[in-house]
């Protein structure tokens, strides 16, 4: 079981450090980024491969009463209980039916192990750092601060996600027993 989620202040700090590191990497002669890319709706999203533990087919999911809306359920991952998050809900997209192409991307974000339900997984992609650009200002709203960059490469457009921001623990009030 992952421990307590770190306080959001810490997360912000960590994200800032990570962002600073990324900028430095941009100027250094590190040419490529390794991304796992996946589809949601018709868009391609990418996350650093270092955050990915494995990709699995969608197992039987158990619904948890009163869990936050973005939690699709829990699954048995080799004897360990995996919380599966509907990434669509977190990105403001409508929920989708599980299809044969649906996958769960098991990610490890600083010890938080989570399953992300996605429509389909593309392969691991290496993109040159030069193809990475900041997102247009208009896209980067306060709510959508998890879009860190956009990769335009070989006629693809990959939206890079900051999972720590996209999956920041929400303060959704636990539902009441009454009614």
């Amino acid at each position: 079981m992952p421990g307590e989620s770190p306080p959001s202040g810490l997360l912000d700090f960590a994200a800032a450090v990570a962002a600073a590191a990324t900028e430095e990497a941009g100027s250094a002669p590190v040419p490529e980024r390794h991304l796992l890319t996946f589809m949601l709706e018709r868009e391609e999203f990418g996350i650093p491969i270092t955050q990915v533990r494995e990709v699995i087919r969608v197992p039987e999911l158990t619904r948890v009463p009163q869990a936050p809306a973005h939690v699709r359920g829990v699954a048995n991952l080799r004897g360990r209980i995996l919380a599966v998050v509907e990434l669509r809900a977190r990105l403001g997209l409508a929920a989708a039916e599980v299809s044969p192409r649906s996958r769960i991307v098991v990610v490890d974000i600083r010890g938080r192990v989570l399953g992300l339900l996605v429509d389909a997984v593309s392969q691991v992609t290496k993109v040159p750092e030069t193809a990475v650009a900041p997102p247009p200002e208009e896209v980067r709203t306060a709510e959508a601060d998890y879009v860190t960059a956009v990769v335009r490469w070989q006629s693809r457009m990959i939206i890079l996600l900051d999972l720590e921001k996209a999956l920041a623990p929400t303060e959704s009030p636990s539902s009441q027993v009454d009614r």
Binding site: M1, P2, E4, S5, E60, T62, R63, V64, P65, Q66, A67, P68, V71, V74, A75, N76, G79, R80, I81, L82, A83, V85, R112, L114, P169, T170, S172, S174, S175, Q176, V177, D178, R179
Partner: protein, 555 residues
């Protein structure tokens, strides 16, 4: 876990493990000594009994270079040495001095890892020295001789301890947790095996080899059950491991409040899983503190109403039908119902029309507890919502009874263990849930005519009364357009409340291994944990107490 700044990292842990119980034993004995003297009894036996532990603490502390503990233990030894000769007519200051020293010693040993500064210890040693000088007892001169006899005493008592502990091994509790985790996996695999064998039997009938397989699986199940019960027993510790420090804390609280309080403990031998014990200590201590601070009156007040100066707080524990019931009661002034009701009304909870039941509901309300007016006016209800929350989190229940002028009694009912819960597995809208059997009173086939609607709520006759029968899909928010036939209802019962829950299927009984909730799941009120069933599916373990509370509030 070695601490880089402390080369003795692990040794200090060993030291604390060994010395803390001894220090607590010493401190408890000093509290008892103080009481003996106050009541004019002879305390020499008590003083003799603690010489051994005290000496061991002194020796171990010296070995570890922990000067504060060594000096405190040494000073206490000196004081005891004098007092043992003089045990029947002690100086009244002596009791307080010893009790203070005992508390200090426990505190120092508890903080041994930080090698605490010796200031407090120096101060205490100085106090003892002054007291000894004032006593100017001839015993001072006979100290060397006393030391020798004492050492002899220690050697013999240590010898006895060795005999007893020869076959005892000290194990890190995390290992027991790991073993339980592995056993849990074994239980899940066994359940899966059982299910496949059953499927096989259905497919190919009672062939010879299949029935042999079946027997083997049944035997495996029995063996695992035995392993489970042995492991669970290993995890059990007597309640006294937690409550033994309470007399001292009660004494300190009472002193700070200017009250006289006697704490009566019983049932300390009652066994509980360490995981439960660890989380029980705070809430119980909270109740004890409440009883002293708010329940017990000052000696003057007590005299005025014809009670003895000294108040009594009782802490009793006893196993009861697979659970443990703990009661904290006092003979104080009782709850001020009027004030609690007034406060309840101000919070929008009208309690006027109801009696004792409503009071019980009000006193555990969060708003009620934090309001300073109530604690000033009525005195009670400080942080009781926190206590209730902690007890509920343990799968327990809490109840209160009070009589004006005669006292208050809190009753806690707790599961013996948290790790494995015997459960009824039910199915509602294709989802499976585990209901702890401790709270299942009965399962009933739901005949269509048996459940009537009163004010849009299902009601059924049960054991000569009427109970509310809720739809599982409604409660668990899975209700579908065309619900499968709700063919059964499960009558849940806890703390005098009953409620039926309509379900589609009764899947069976299973000992489920509780896996805690992933923080990602928020804090769903109705779910106390998750578990993996025999078929590998995950099921939520429902919190029976919360289910019943929901029914009560809604109804």
């Amino acid at each position: 876990m070695t601490d880089e700044t402390n080369p003795f990292g692990e040794l200090v842990e060993e030291y604390v493990l060994e010395c803390l119980p001894l220090a607590e034993q010493v401190a408890d004995a000093f509290v008892a000594v103080e009481r003996c003297w106050r009541e004019g009894e002879d305390a020499s036996a008590l003083l003799t009994a603690i010489a051994g532990p005290l000496h061991t603490i002194k020796g171990n502390s010296a070995m570890m270079g922990l000067a504060a503990m060594r000096d405190t233990a040494h000073a206490l030894e000196d004081a005891c040495g004098v007092l043992r000769h003089d045990a029947e007519s002690p100086d009244p200051a002596a009791g307080a001095l010893l009790a203070a020293g005992g508390s200090l010693l426990v505190e120092l040993v508890r903080r041994a890892r930080d090698n605490p500064e010796a200031d407090e210890a120096l101060e205490f040693v100085e106090r003892v020295r002054q007291w000894l000088a004032r006593g100017a007892s001839p015993a001072l001169e006979t100290q060397p001789e006393r030391r020798r006899t004492e050492r002899r005493g220690t050697a013999s008592s240590a010898g006895q301890a060795d005999d007893r502990s020869a076959s005892v091994v000290r194990v890190d509790f995390r290992r027991l947790d790991a073993m339980l985790e592995i056993l849990g996996e074994g239980l899940i695999q066994q359940a899966a095996l059982t299910e496949s064998v059953r499927g096989l039997t259905r497919r190919i009938g009672p062939a010879d080899q299949v029935s042999r397989l079946d027997q083997a699986v049944v035997a495996l199940e029995k063996t695992l059950k035995r392993l489970e019960s042995t492991l669970m027993e290993t995890r059990l510790l007597p309640l006294s491991t937690v409550v033994s420090r309470f007399p001292r804390l009660v004494r300190d609280t009472a002193e700070a409040e200017g009250k006289r309080v006697r704490l009566l403990l019983s049932g300390g031998e009652t066994p509980l899983d360490k995981a439960v014990l660890d989380r029980l200590s705070e809430p119980v201590l909270h109740l004890l503190t409440n009883a002293i601070v708010h329940g017990i009156e000052s000696p003057g007040e007590r005299r005025a109403v014809g009670k003895s100066d000294e108040g009594t707080v009782r802490l009793t524990a006893a196993p009861e039908a697979g659970r443990v019931v703990i009661r904290v009661s006092d003979d104080g002034r009782g709850l001020d119902e009027q004030a609690i009701r007034r406060k309840g009304e101000s919070l929008g909870r009208d309690g006027r029309s109801e009696s004792g039941l409503a009071l019980r509901d009000l006193i555990f309300l969060p708003g009620l507890s934090t309001a300073p007016q109530v604690s000033a006016l009525a005195g009670r209800g400080v942080g009781l919502d926190v206590v209730a929350g902690a007890i509920h989190a343990l799968g327990g229940t809490i109840d209160v009874e009070t009589a004006p002028g005669a006292g208050t009694s809190f009753t806690l009912s707790l599961p013996v263990t948290l790790a494995i819960v015997r459960s009824l597995i039910v199915e509602v809208d294709q989802e499976r849930y585990a209901l702890p059997l401790a709270h299942v009173a009965e399962t009933v086939r739901a005949e269509p005519e048996a459940i009537r609607q009163i004010n849009h709520r299902g009601v059924a006759a049960w054991r000569g009364g009427l109970i509310h029968v809720a739809d599982g899909g409604d409660v668990l928010e899975t209700r579908q357009a065309r619900p499968a036939g709700r063919r059964f209802y499960v009558v849940m019962a806890a703390a005098g409340r009953r409620r039926g829950l309509l379900v589609d299927r009764l899947v069976g009984h299973q000992d489920v291994v509780v896996k805690s909730l992933d923080p990602e799941l928020g804090r769903p009120v109705l779910v106390s944990g998750t578990t993996i069933l025999g078929d590998g599916r995950v099921a939520c373990i429902l919190d029976a107490v919360r289910l019943l509370e929901g029914g009560r509030r809604a109804g």
